[in-house]
């Protein structure tokens, strides 16, 4: 038996040239600038940064352009790029209470301090296609009203006083913050590592799992306590300076999900919480993340394990779309030898089968009907 192992080189090179041509498309149409992608397709850029787990709008926009708009390919490019860079260190934890807020809503308190700020939302639009955007769209300047720069407390800080809602999640004092870019995954996980995995997880996967919990598979009775989107300052401690320096700001979306909880052997009746924190403006993902964070706390809270969204190993192991696409898509690579071996095996099994079932050849008519 002969299996070809060479000969793809010219084909691959020409395929890549063709890819470059198709990516560019009709040359009479102007090429897109990175700035245009950042400014006008900003939510795509945000999603690439979130699932690529790398905040850099220029690189994410470049990846989007290079990947012809294929999100997972763009995310893959960003993940590959990050492996070429040295790690300078860890930032101080961001303070979302000090956020420059661009949107902030609560579905639990109408009159919360700081108010309900709708911001640039698709909510309440009629989802009608706007033919004016087919041409050049001249857009009015937004309205303004005197705002204030006071710190806007998170809804969880406001609710904490009553004692009916659990605190922000703490871990033991001697706990070293886990980092799944540095250490292999181990189950069961601590909540910090789980949140890191969920924050870079595939939005569609989290959305589907979150939805499954709403439909009754590990129901968690959620309320969107608060969603906020805006910019937070990033600081790192620089040992040679002896003080923290600010690196600039990044945009994040935070969701505080509040869940009714009837209590268990481990915890009294109270409101429990799920947390979502995502790069960029992405409240769908932040909401889904907080639903899944909450259901993955089932063991901690003494709940019965009944549904896929509660199964930490199942959820976290399949949440990363770069890993998932790698394994699914590898199936298209040559498996000639594996297949020849299997073909040989199936031939032998068939021969044995026919020997033992001598004279009982399958009914041809029956087979056709089944097909």
């Amino acid at each position: 038996m002969y299996v070809a192992v060479k000969g793809g080189e010219a084909a691959i090179s020409n395929a890549h040239k063709l890819l470059a041509d198709r990516r560019r498309g009709d040359r009479s149409v102007p090429a897109m600038h990175i700035e245009q992608i950042i400014e006008q397709l900003g939510l795509a850029v945000d999603r690439i940064m979130s699932e690529g787990s790398l905040y850099d709008r220029e690189l994410a926009a470049l990846a989007f352009k290079q990947a012809r708009g294929d999100m997972i390919e763009a995310i893959f490019l960003l993940r590959a790029y990050r492996t070429t860079l040295p790690r300078f260190g860890y930032s101080n934890p961001i303070d979302t209470g000090a956020m420059l807020i661009e949107r902030r809503i609560s579905a639990t308190y109408k009159d919360l301090p700081g108010g309900q700020l709708l911001g640039p939302t698709f909510d309440y639009t009629h989802r009608l296609l706007d033919p004016e955007l087919m041409g050049s769209d001249a857009v009015e300047e937004p309205q303004t009203r005197e705002g204030n720069d006071a710190r806007t407390p998170r809804v969880s800080e406001i609710l904490a006083h009553e004692g009916l809602i659990e605190d922000d999640g703490d871990l033991p004092d001697d706990h070293q913050t886990g980092d799944l870019t540095r250490e292999p995954m181990e189950f069961p996980m601590t909540r910090d590592v789980r949140l890191q995995a969920l924050s870079r997880a595939d939005e569609g996967f989290l959305l589907a799992l979150g939805y499954s919990t709403q439909r009754g598979f590990a129901r968690s009775h959620p309320f969107a306590g608060e969603i906020r989107i805006g910019e937070v300052d990033i600081e790192i401690d620089v040992p040679e300076l002896g003080f923290a320096v600010s690196l600039g700001r990044i945009r994040v979306t935070e969701c505080q999900m509040i869940n009714q909880f009837k209590g268990s052997a481990k915890s009294p009746p109270q409101f429990t919480r799920g947390y979502g924190l995502v790069f960029g403006q992405s409240e769908r993902k932040a909401m889904a993340m907080s639903l899944v964070d909450r259901t993955l706390r089932a063991t901690e809270l003494g709940e019965d394990l009944t549904a896929p969204a509660q199964d930490e190993e199942f959820v976290i192991s399949h949440s990363d779309n770069v890993q998932a696409t790698g394994f699914v898509e590898h199936l298209k690579l040559p498996h000639y030898v594996d297949f020849q071996a299997e073909l040989d095996l199936v031939r032998r099994m068939r021969a044995e089968y026919e020997q033992t079932h001598d004279g009982e050849t399958p009914d041809d008519d029956g087979l056709e009907a089944a097909q």
Binding site: S91, G147, T177, P239
Partner: protein, 163 residues
């Protein structure tokens, strides 16, 4: 090791009284545009010679969040960061860090951090650079806050009936 640490402390000690000002200037440089810093350096009179001590180099910082917003830290995701350290012919050593991969911007920021530490040029750096950039950033923040404020929901109650 001990010598190096003593040296570092010796260097840091005299800075402590001016540290808040320097920290703020560094934060402003980190958020400045590349052009603002390049133009200011281009127009700087009697530019000292600059020698690089480190970088500019681009790497990653792992950004941390807190569980529930205020609980235990967790690793949220990485960001690209560029850093540089320069030494001026006048002796000052300047550091800079900023999000992104703009090496020219960060090199200029390190130069201005060094110039800020020189008492003879500090007021000029503050006046020509830190002040105007801070004013621009504050105006942009105020504009964004005001645009967001216009989307605030003003609830009102419909009163029905006579009482």
């Amino acid at each position: 090791m001990t010598d190096a640490m003593d040296g570092a402390e010796g260097e840091a000690a005299p800075l402590s009284d001016v540290q808040p000002g320097r920290q703020e200037a560094m934060a402003i440089f980190a958020r400045a545009s590349g052009k603002e810093l390049a133009d200011a350096w281009g127009a700087w009179p009697d530019r000292p010679d600059v020698s690089p001590l480190r970088g500019p180099e681009t790497g990653l910082v792992m950004v941390r969040g807190r569980i529930g917003g205020g609980g235990a830290p967790f690793n949220f995701g990485e960001a690209t960061v560029t850093r540089a350290t320069v030494k001026l012919s006048t002796g000052q050593v300047g550091h800079a860090h900023a999000l992104g991969a703009d090496t020219d911007k960060v090199r200029h920021a390190a130069i201005f951090d060094a110039l800020w530490q020189d008492e003879t040029s500090r007021s000029v750096v503050e006046e020509k650079l830190v002040g105007p950039i801070r004013a621009r950033l504050e105006a942009e923040d105020a504009r964004r806050r005001n645009e967001t404020a216009a989307t605030k929901v003003d609830f009102f109650t419909m009163v029905r009936g006579e009482d």
